[in-house]
């Protein structure tokens, strides 16, 4: 072996080592965050943590029931608003690749994805909160739904684009009308990808704080009325972590752990559903 070959092999080894090193480095932040939150949060979690609302300063105990229920309602309502619109737009974009409307809606969806969440929050504040004259959970849901939309639209579009045209032809050649072809053939075949897009969008917005600051606003009591202010996990964390009281810090740590577990769980469910619903073409 000549020295040139040895040098090349040496360079290649160095390069490989670097790639592996940096690939492992990506895992470190996640593990560090997980470890820290679990360490701080796990001791604060018990039964009363889930069923009680926060106690006034100075009283021990108290929980995050109001924020937990609030988060479920706000995110749930946002999902109900965003999922049908998102999936239908995704179908339109995958079916009409070149139309003018497709071009503009694809562009707007891409830009929407980049709009800072606080800007969406302030816009919804001026659209809904101000005219109505009160903070409300529903306005928070609208803000979150706007944030979910681009993720659902693009994942639906990308999934359906991968389905072969022969599948559509098979359906149409059997005399199937267009709407039945979409509902009975195209959607079921792409359901894995569509569901995973929906789950990821839910995971993505579950921790959003900024758009809720001046929409859902927060509420120290348990509320299920979506026209009234409502608490949510990220809001609770924001409010309590910045407070000067140890009791409230504890609640914030516990809530952080719950939120993190929620997002993790959604990601795991997404992986499992994609595997289970994956259709072999």
């Amino acid at each position: 072996m000549g020295p040139r070959i040895k040098l090349r092999i040496g360079k290649s080894t160095v390069f490989k080592t670097l790639v592996i090193l940096f690939a492992s480095a990506c895992v470190i932040p996640l593990l560090a965050i997980l470890g820290y939150i679990i360490k701080e949060g796990i001791t604060k979690i018990n039964w009363s943590f889930f069923v009680n609302v926060p106690k006034p300063v100075g009283e021990a105990g108290g929980g995050i029931a109001n924020a937990l229920v609030g988060s479920f309602i706000i995110v749930g309502v946002a999902a109900i608003m965003a999922i049908p619109v998102g999936i239908l737009s995704g179908i339109y974009l995958s079916e009409n690749k070149t139309s003018k409307l497709a071009y503009w809606s694809r562009l707007s969806v891409d830009i929407l994805q980049g709009v800072p969440s606080i800007v969406i929050g302030i816009v919804v504040y001026f659209w809904i909160v101000k005219p109505i004259g009160s903070f409300s959970a529903i306005s928070g849901s609208v803000a979150l739904a706007i944030m979910m939309l681009p993720i659902i639209v693009r994942s639906t579009e990308e999934t359906l684009k991968l389905l072969p045209d022969t599948l559509k032809e098979a359906a149409l050649a059997l005399g199937m009308p267009y709407h039945r072809m979409i509902l009975k053939v195209i959607l079921p075949c792409g359901i894995g990808g569509i569901l995973s897009g929906v789950m990821l969008s839910v995971a993505r917005i579950a921790g959003e704080t900024a758009p809720l600051l001046f929409t859902a606003f927060g509420n120290p009591y348990l509320s299920t009325n979506i026209t009234k202010p409502m608490h949510s996990l990220p809001l609770l964390i924001f409010n309590y972590a910045t407070s000067p009281y140890d009791d409230w810090h504890n609640l914030a740590w516990g809530a952080s752990l719950i939120l993190l577990l929620w997002v993790l769980l959604l990601n795991i469910i997404t992986k499992l559903t994609t595997r289970k619903w994956n259709i072999q073409l």
């Binding site: 149409l172 050649a173 059997l174 199937m176 039945r180």
Partner: protein, 252 residues
């Protein structure tokens, strides 16, 4: 005289400005196998797709002239109705990947929302799969996904799916081009059987196949129907020099 089921009168098809099928006049007798052959790009597949109005689904595709099914112009009927009467089998097997073998066969009913009793469905499934020579191979795994089958079995499943709708005409677009020789032989054998109940129009690239399976053969060249005759006549004594050149392999 034989009963004519499909007839065209000065039929033309276009992709945008591209004229791909030119002034075709043809009559196809009932319960015959008609092979449509010709070199690549001669318009044979386009012509086939015009018969059940699949051609118009492509952006920019148009056609003119008369395309008659039992003396009624298919372009005056609703495309959905046309496609129920004229079934189609594609080049590549395309069973619905989300459905079982059983549901694939009755897909035309099930996905169109036609409700049927279980016994009736069972009968259609068994009947169609038997006629597609697939029943014995799949009768114990009817509820497995159709995509688990081999390529040749998938293609026969697609044939079963098409004939389950009891169409009057069955169009086959190079149905064996993606299959191995053994599967090809079994699909070809099947065509003989199917001819008893249906009229088959098969596009093929392969002259031997046209000679083996068909009663009549149409030869397309550059969008024109050059010659249309009894298969035997066509292969032993072609009238047009272009046909002769093609079947003797002087161009392909």
């Amino acid at each position: 005289m034989e009963h004519t089921i499909v007839r065209t009168e000065k039929f033309n098809a276009y992709f945008g400005a591209n004229h791909v099928v030119k002034d075709v006049n043809i009559s196809i007798p009932k319960n015959n196998v008609v092979a449509v052959m010709g070199p690549s790009g001669c318009g044979k597949t386009t012509f086939l797709r015009c018969i059940n109005r699949m051609h118009e689904l492509i952006a920019g595709a148009t056609c003119e002239g008369e395309m008659l099914l039992n003396n009624e112009d298919v372009y005056d009927m609703h495309p959905i109705f046309v496609r129920l009467k004229i079934g189609m089998v594609f080049q590549r097997p395309n069973p619905f990947p989300n459905l079982s073998i059983y549901d694939n066969v009755i897909a035309g009913y099930k996905l169109n929302g036609i409700k049927m009793a279980k016994a009736e469905k069972d009968k259609i499934v068994e009947n169609s799969l038997s006629r597609a020579a697939l029943w014995n191979e799949v009768k114990d795994s009817l509820h497995k996904k159709g995509t688990f089958l081999s390529g040749g079995q998938q293609q026969r499943l697609c044939i079963a799916r098409a004939i389950a709708m009891e169409p009057e005409v069955l169009l086959l677009d190079e149905p064996t081009s993606a299959l191995d020789p053994i599967s090809t032989a079994s699909v070809e054998e099947l065509l003989f059987e199917l001819k008893k109940n249906y009229t088959l129009i098969i596009v093929t690239h392969n002259m031997q196949q046209a000679a083996r399976v068909s009663d009549r053969t149409a030869f397309f060249y550059l969008g024109e129907l050059v010659e249309y005759d009894d298969t035997k006549q066509m292969f032993t004594n072609p009238k047009d020099t272009r046909t002769q050149n093609y079947i003797t392999g002087r161009f392909s």
